[in-house]
């Protein structure tokens, strides 16, 4: 019985909790990508850099607050700076729309052209970030690092295995729940949300019904800005902030959005968790788990690892390819908001 509990704790500690927090970050990112896709109808390659930009502004203001000795006690100061980051990210989104994307929307350009344009935007934002903050790795989480340390848990329960709970993980999960609830409430219950759904479902019909497209697009960019900034900051808070990482993060985010069914917000969230859990589960070495759960005579000798951790990114893409082959519209049927 004790062995069984230990094995469960191992899974919780190394797969479930990291999976949920990483999955939440991916889900928020994928939600942003899916919004752009559903309303503006293009694949936004700049999304990773928008996330990075939000995180950067948050970091700059975190430093500012820290220098002024303003803090939140046990919570990270970054939470205080987050609203500023969100506002800056929204402004960035709206500026890029006004000066770049709007023109192509009025021209009714094909999605591929808009995707190319978003690559240009990606380069520009990327350069701005590097010019402002450089390329170094930055750790900006302060306050209490752990809610529960592995050692405390061992003492508390008397088990062999520890269960560590980082505060950044808990914050990630809480904020994600909050943001997702708000987003879905907004889409289902408010007038603007309903008009967005109508616009995404059938643009011409929505225009005929008197929905103002500029207003819908404006609201979309606000939501995208909020989601991107929060996702970027949470990722930076949980791991560490490094500008180059966000470019690599774009791929799993796209994978999540497509796997869930691109254009479908619920699918994007599910896709985020699917990708996160499969990345972690495929590359985790299960030796410890099997040592507890199996009788000692048939214990495994190797690491019992399906793929080495080097292939983390490859896993998300293999899943993407498999899903696209079997069910091209994604798990939940995409293209409807």
């Amino acid at each position: 019985m004790i062995d069984f509990l230990n094995s469960i704790i191992v899974l919780l500690n190394f797969i479930v909790i990291p999976g949920i927090s990483y999955g939440s970050q991916l889900a928020l990112g994928a939600l942003g990508v899916t919004f752009v896709y559903a309303i503006l109808r293009f694949a936004n390659f700049a999304h990773g850099e928008i996330m990075s930009f939000g995180a950067m502004i948050t970091i700059l203001f975190t430093w500012f607050f820290q220098s002024q000795n303003i803090g939140l006690g046990i919570l990270p100061t970054a939470l205080l700076a987050l609203p500023v980051g969100i506002i800056a990210t929204i402004i960035l989104c709206i500026i890029s729309d006004k000066f770049v994307f709007q023109y192509y929307r009025y021209q009714k350009s094909v999605p591929v052209v808009l995707a190319m344009v978003s690559i240009g935007v990606m380069f520009v934002i990327n350069a701005i970030i590097r010019i402002i903050i450089g390329t170094e790795t930055i750790k900006f989480s302060d306050g209490q690092k752990f809610i529960m340390k592995a050692k405390q848990f061992k003492v508390m329960t008397g088990l062999n295995e520890g269960l560590a709970l980082k505060s950044s993980q808990v914050i990630t999960i809480l904020i994600t729940i909050l943001l997702l609830t708000f987003t879905f409430w907004f889409l289902q219950k408010t007038k603007t949300g309903k008009s967005m759904r109508a616009f995404s479902d059938n643009e011409d019909l929505a225009l005929l019904s008197g929905i103002n497209p500029d207003r819908v697009v404006f609201t979309t960019w606000i939501i995208v800005g909020v989601l991107a900034c929060v996702a970027g900051t949470l990722y930076g808070l949980d791991k560490s902030y490094k500008p180059i990482i966000y470019l690599n993060l774009v791929l799993p985010i796209f994978a999540s959005a497509i796997v869930g069914g691109i254009g479908n917000p619920f699918g994007a969230v599910v896709g985020g968790y699917v990708i996160a859990f499969s990345e972690i589960m495929v590359t985790y070495a299960y030796k410890k788990f099997f040592v507890y759960i199996l009788p000692s005579s048939i214990e495994p000798t190797g690491l019992v690892q399906l793929l080495s951790t080097d292939y983390k990114f490859a896993v998300s893409f293999s899943i993407l390819v498999i899903v696209l082959l079997i069910r091209p519209s994604g798990i939940f049927k995409g293209r409807v908001l």
């Binding site: 690559i119 935007v121 380069f123 350069a127 590097r130 010019i131 990114f313 993407l320 390819v321």
Partner: protein
């Protein structure tokens, strides 16, 4: 067949004069270094341009195909390592044979077992156990190989052939990978295809990074043999010394003192050997570029090229006219990737080393796409021009930015924090330039600087 219009001659003249200008300002060595990379970039751009410009097939996997070309350069030119083959060759052979057996078994099951559910169950069972068995042999073998002299070897080595063969093999490697990707992904809509090819190229690079028995992984392969002479050999070769003396005879004759003259001659020989090597590379690359350019143009003007344009402009209509769109898409995707693979092998040849961790999408996929868009998709001369212009600005962005920053902050003290920070960030301004160039071109000249010619034939 290749009659250039006046503005096309103008662009060619601009390209050549840019290099002469750099040659006089920054030295011929710098100019040739930039020229070599420009030619390679132009070949990559032609590869992408063939699939995107001719047929509208998007290929964001440039990085992966380049890396395959680079791998070919290693596998062709590096001398074979006998001990590694002894240590793991048999194991690898067995696992490869088993893999082939597995594939055949799966194909057999798919053919014979008709009931869908049974087929799925049988397939997953055989794949699962097959992979378990293969893994056993494979991991043992690769472990043994990587243990052989890890500091300098630790991989299988190559064939020990002249590296120039790898330019063809690299194309074949890339074509092979492209065939698999194309079979899997080409049915997808263009933006999906972009994302999928981008992702698969990441997978290719991560395999090269971590399968050390094959490519030495992140430990890199250095010291690949060159197809052109080494500087040190040139400096001791009589014919080269005579050549330098002959070319500079008027300059040397003006120096009366013998030891002074020897000194000057020595310096000239050292400079000259570097330039000679780069020039030889440039000539080799130029030949390849012109060959590809010739055939690409010929293909574009042929009935096949006309069919490709028809498919690009209206897939449904082309399909209705009896053209096999899926097959043609696959063909053109493979051809484009093969050309990129050739460029990848040439890139490694030029550097003389293979560094899998150096393949990054920003540098090797997106920049190439900017070259295609800026040059003019669907026009081969445009592709070459795009490759030249973008690589040129990519390199010259740094000196230009330093100049601009110094001009703008001329009033500030040299220790001013803002000025120092800006000067520190000079390398990042090139991304800004690239983004702005792309956005401006897409806005004001969406067909590129040299647009595709409209043909009414």
């Amino acid at each position: 067949m290749m009659k250039f219009e006046r503005y096309e001659w103008l662009t060619i003249t601009i390209m050549i004069s840019l290099f002469i200008f750099v040659g006089f300002i920054q030295g011929w060595s710098v100019s040739l270094v930039i020229l070599n990379m420009c030619i390679i970039s132009a070949i990559m751009t032609m590869g992408v341009n063939i699939s995107w410009g001719y047929a509208g097939v998007i290929n964001f996997g440039v990085m992966g195909f380049l890396a395959m070309g680079g791998l070919a350069a290693v596998l062709v030119s590096y001398p074979p390592i006998a001990e590694s083959w002894q240590a793991g060759g048999r194991g690898l052979g067995i696992s490869f044979a088993l893999l082939v057996g597995l594939v055949i078994a799966v194909m057999y099951i798919n053919k014979t077992v008709i009931q869908k559910r049974n087929r799925y169950i049988l397939n997953s069972l055989i794949i699962f156990f097959g992979i378990l068995i293969i893994r056993h042999f494979y991991l043992n073998a690769t472990h043994n190989i990587e243990d052989v002299n890890p500091a300098i070897a630790g991989f299988l080595g190559g064939l020990g052939l002249p590296i120039i063969f790898s330019w063809i093999i690299g194309g074949l490697f890339a074509a092979g990978v492209a065939f698999v990707i194309g079979k899997v992904a080409l049915g997808l809509r263009s933006d999906y295809l972009a994302i999928v090819t981008l992702g698969i190229s990441e997978i290719v690079v991560s395999v090269l990074k971590h399968e050390e028995w094959l490519s030495r992984g992140v430990k890199n392969v250095i010291g690949l043999k060159r197809p052109v002479p080494y500087e040190i050999d040139l400096q001791n070769a009589d014919w080269f010394i005579n050549l330098v003396t002959y070319l500079n005879s008027s300059k040397l004759n003006n120096i009366i003192d013998v030891s002074d003259r020897q000194q000057v001659l020595n310096n000239l020989i050292i400079d000259g050997s570097g330039i000679f090597v780069k020039l030889s590379y440039a000539i080799l690359f130029l030949i390849v570029m012109l060959i590809i350019f010739y055939f690409a143009n010929k293909a574009q003007l042929s009935p096949w090229g006309r069919m490709m344009r028809a498919i690009r402009d209206n897939e449904t209509a082309a399909n209705a006219m009896g053209k096999d769109v899926v097959k043609q898409h696959l063909i053109i995707f493979v051809i484009g990737a093969a050309i990129v693979g050739v460029a990848g092998a040439m890139l490694v040849t030029l550097d003389g080393l293979f560094t899998p961790s150096g393949y990054r999408p920003l540098r090797f996929t997106f920049i190439i796409w900017i070259m295609v868009i800026v040059g003019g998709s669907g026009n081969n001369l445009g592709a070459i021009f795009g490759g030249f212009v973008i690589w040129f600005s990519w390199i010259e962005a740094a000196p230009l930015t330093t100049f601009i920053i110094n001009q703008l902050t001329v009033g500030l003290e040299p220790t001013n924090a803002l000025k120092l920070h800006l000067l520190d960030s000079v390398p990042y301004f090139r991304y800004l330039f690239m983004g702005l160039i792309l956005l401006l071109i897409l806005r004001y000249r969406p067909k590129g600087i040299i647009p595709e010619k409209v043909r009414h034939s």
